[in-house]
């Protein structure tokens, strides 16, 4: 706990018009942390993640990245986003590019690497997620689980400090969930700092070292996964977990 925080979220609030989605959110991500954010649909989990990647503009509060507030005016959002990767529920692979090009375009155009370097790097990460045989395929030609693995490789190829996952398995058939989760588990084992919004309770319990339970736009309870899953302190947490574990 002595390590310096990568991300600090302080008193973060977000409202869409009069609808208050996030209220006074506080939490910290340290290097190597695998934080799972769980909670019912509509509790603000995804909005929180999108705020952290500046895809939504927070209404109030601060997000500190290495101690610097990134929500203010005059912040170079694209430069910040290269250090905080994001994997989406709907993959969002670029449909006009092949698998390989998807993993290269950020490196060549944003990081200004040479094509050879970018290709070697892309291949490295595609191999890691087991998608290297499919480099010439277009996104429309591969399955959902494969798309998501390519999306992870694309995010990794930028070599970010933190990786955000927004319900990475929610759009997948049950048989494809496993391949994506196993890639994520490998990443966690290698010490990647990850922030995962998920409905996969087993993943949250077994892989992450910190779990945040959200309800109605506030953090209801957070703590070590074993502690939170075995002995939830709040009634709402207990109710939510019992509903999920019964399945």
């Amino acid at each position: 706990m002595s390590m310096e925080a990568i991300l600090e979220v302080k008193h973060l609030s977000k409202a869409f018009g009069k609808h208050q989605v996030l209220r006074d959110i506080d939490f910290t991500v340290r290097p190597g942390d695998v934080t799972s954010i769980i909670g019912a649909s509509g509790s603000g989990k995804s909005t929180l993640l999108r705020c952290i990647n500046l895809l939504e503009t927070p209404s109030a509060g601060e997000i500190l990245f290495h101690g610097k507030d990134i929500t203010g005016r005059g912040v170079n959002a694209p430069a910040y986003r290269t250090k905080v990767g994001m994997v989406f529920q709907s993959f969002n692979l670029f449909n006009n590019m092949t698998v390989l090009e998807n993993c290269m375009v950020g490196q060549t155009k944003v990081l200004k690497k040479s094509r050879e370097e970018a290709k070697a790097n892309a291949m490295k990460y595609l191999k890691k997620v087991g998608m290297d045989p499919y480099v010439h395929a277009k996104p429309r030609q591969i399955s959902g689980g494969q798309k998501q693995r390519v999306a992870i490789a694309r995010a990794l190829a930028m070599e970010p400090e933190v990786l955000l996952f927004d319900e990475p398995t929610s759009a997948l058939d049950p048989e494809m969930v496993g391949e994506v989760l196993s890639v994520m588990r490998d990443l966690a084992d290698e010490g990647m700092t990850m922030l995962v919004v998920t409905h996969e309770m087993a993943f949250a319990r077994d892989v992450s070292n910190h779990v945040v339970f959200m309800a109605d736009g506030v953090i209801c309870e957070e703590g070590e996964p074993q502690e939170l899953f075995a002995h939830p302190k709040q009634d709402r947490t207990r109710e939510f977990l019992s509903r999920f574990m019964a399945k």
Binding site: R81, F88, N96, K109, P133
Partner: protein, 291 residues
């Protein structure tokens, strides 16, 4: 039947005497349509990008004011040029420039005037098509591009426009075909395209109908070829439906490998002598001497 024979004769007569005029008119029409469509597309793309620059209340005041101003200007441009006839615009611009500059400025080259007028016209239509094309792309594509740190311009150039371009290609084709036909109004400022050739020739010999028949066939031929080429271009842009697997993992045994890969099979590539020996062995068993 007799009438058709007569028409055929007249057409042959006209073509024999004036084929040069027809042909140069055809060339001019095509050249103008192609150049103006390309420039118009560039104008349309530029307007489409300007119109879709995101603007959040967090941006500094000057940027927001500038963006608002740009959008109003683009809007005025589109509405004015879409909402007035091109034949009138050409007269307005061609004669308006010398009128306002007291004859110090004028179009010395009829080509530059014609290209300018048809281009800005096409641009006005394309601006809306491009805007539609950009809106048709899933917002997730933009988010994916932003998430790897792309700026708005990079997102547009590398992700959104290539996909939007594919979607608006039928629209571009539409505009090209419209341009082939509508450049005919350029005769009003003295541009000698295909229709001007008709006016010139019939002014000499009064053979209106046969000349019009030639023109009809010429225009239809051009537009048919254009639409066929555009279909072909769409097909090329869509790319192949197939892709090749790159099997680099030598640890995987492919189906049908009944031996361990290291040991090889009787069907592996070998030298001729070795292959024959293997075949002999398979037929007759091993030679004694080999043991």
């Amino acid at each position: 039947m007799e009438r058709f024979m007569q028409l055929g004769q007249d057409v042959a007569l006209l073509l024999g005497a004036y084929w040069k005029q027809y042909l140069s008119g055809l060339g001019n029409t095509l050249a103008l349509a192609i150049i103006a469509t390309v420039i118009g597309c560039v104008i349309g793309l530029a307007c489409g990008i300007l119109n879709t620059i995101p603007c959040s209340p967090h941006d500094p005041m000057p940027k927001r004011v500038l963006l608002r101003l740009v959008r109003i200007l683009v809007r005025i441009y589109v509405e004015v040029f879409r909402g007035t006839p091109m034949v009138l615009q050409s007269v307005f611009i061609y004669y308006g420039l010398p009128y306002f500059s007291n004859n110090t400025m004028r179009f010395d080259n009829i080509w530059s005037a014609a290209i300018l007028i048809v281009s800005i016209n096409t641009g006005a239509y394309m601006a809306e098509s491009v805007r539609g094309g950009i809106l048709s792309i899933d917002p997730g594509q933009t988010e994916g591009a932003k998430a790897i740190g792309m700026t708005h311009v990079q997102t547009m150039l590398h992700v959104i426009l290539p996909q939007a371009f594919r979607n608006i290609l039928p629209q571009i084709g539409n505009n090209f075909i419209i341009n082939i036909k509508d450049t005919s109004v350029m005769f009003i400022i003295g541009f000698t395209e295909l229709f001007a050739a008709h006016r010139y020739i019939t002014g000499v010999n009064l053979m209106y109908f046969p000349s019009a028949a030639i023109e009809m066939i010429a225009y239809l031929t051009m537009t048919l070829i254009a639409s066929a080429l555009l279909r072909l271009l769409e097909k090329v842009l869509d790319g192949s439906d197939n892709y090749e697997l790159v099997q680099t993992d030598s640890l995987t045994m492919t189906a049908g490998t009944y031996n361990h890969p290291a040991k090889g099979s009787p069907f592996d590539e070998r030298s001729k002598e070795q292959r024959e020996r293997v075949e002999q062995e398979l037929k007759f068993g091993r030679n004694r001497g080999d043991r």
